[in-house]
Subunit: 180 residues, 2 copies
DNA sequence: AGTTGCATGTAAGAGGTTACATGATTTC
DNA sequence: GAAATCATGTAACCTCTTACATGCAACT
């Protein structure tokens, strides 16, 4: 049982989902390809932590909808209590910035503009998620209680927004540095 | 040539360093163990991108001090111009927050306090780095020019600080949410 | 006396990406 | 007509971690 496996259980604790959907929704927290997820789901099923039903579709390919079992829920709860690994980030851009003096200012500025627009796109998508969460919640988001199923969605979008804002802020600050 | 290999060249473009030192200094941008770095250095040497001198020490183990060659510099400059991969973060804590409603408020609060103190420690270390950079620079940091060798150190510590501040801010905001 | 830091390296195994394979429907 | 979306799966390959191996000096 690796972290990604527990991550899949975590998502399944809220909704039954297909492997494809799990792959899409786990990206913000733990990027993974379908080729990694499908074998893990088979393992989780063998362990009795998840179960699935075949759903036949006419317009789209047939699918397997997975759900969490009682044993899976138990395993998930135990994992939450275990020590948590610190987040790991690998940032190629930062490595390039380290030796940015090797290129001219114009090229450096071009790189920063590109990176800033990447973060702007990311921010827009988070803002859409935020609006989506707002739409799905009955209460105003600030009033959501700990046990509300929407609580986690709200606080995690908030987390993502704070981070992307910090990244964007740094990009803009860098751009002003390079223009002068 | 993978990203880590270019990262090593990037560090070597500023100072000649041992594999051990490279391992220590690349952590903030691209975490890696010595067991990954030593073989890559051997590869880089075979490609002619780096060279090393044996340095015999009496009190400590002997070491190999690597430096960038002309060919290495050229490879490094070409890499900077290539498209840059987006940063990748894997965050076990976020996966746990997603299903945090499975445990009680007290346990959740405990987890957040722990995570906040982790970020506080990180912030302190970044503030030390900041002071170190300040001490090594003749000019006030805000006046550092693009081509100053200290410029990259300054802007990268700034980047790290903005990010850790965002993380800490989220932790504290979460704590206030859970106390009410 | 035991741990940490310096310093290098290899081997085995786990984790993750890319490519191959299939196939219908919808959008540009 | 080409690309993207849905949907599953396997195989080969690359990346990364853990463990093994050695040894001295400094600190607790």
């Amino acid at each position: 049982m690796n972290t990604l496996s527990y991550g899949l259980l975590s998502l399944l604790s809220k909704d039954s989902r297909t492997g494809y959907e799990l792959m899409q929704h786990i990206q913000p927290f733990w990027p993974a390809k379908h080729s990694q997820i499908y074998p893990l789901l088979a393992q989780l099923e063998q362990k009795g932590y998840v179960e699935f039903v075949h759903v036949v579709q006419s317009d789209k390919p047939d699918k397997k909808v997975y759900s969490l079992t009682e044993a899976g829920l138990k395993a998930l709860q135990e994992w939450i209590g275990l020590p948590t690994d610190p987040p790991v980030t690998r940032d190629e851009f930062a490595l390039k910035i380290y030796c940015i003096g090797l290129v001219n200012k114009e090229e450096a500025l071009k790189m920063l503009v590109e990176r800033a627009s990447y973060y702007k796109g990311k921010k827009e998508r988070f803002m859409e998620s935020f609006e989506k969460v707002k739409g799905q919640s009955e209460k105003p988001l600030e009033e959501l209680e700990f046990h509300d199923p929407m609580f986690a969605n709200y606080v995690l979008v908030k987390k993502a927004m704070l981070k992307v804002d910090a990244d964007l802020h740094w990009c803009e600050w860098m751009r002003s540095k390079l223009k002068s």
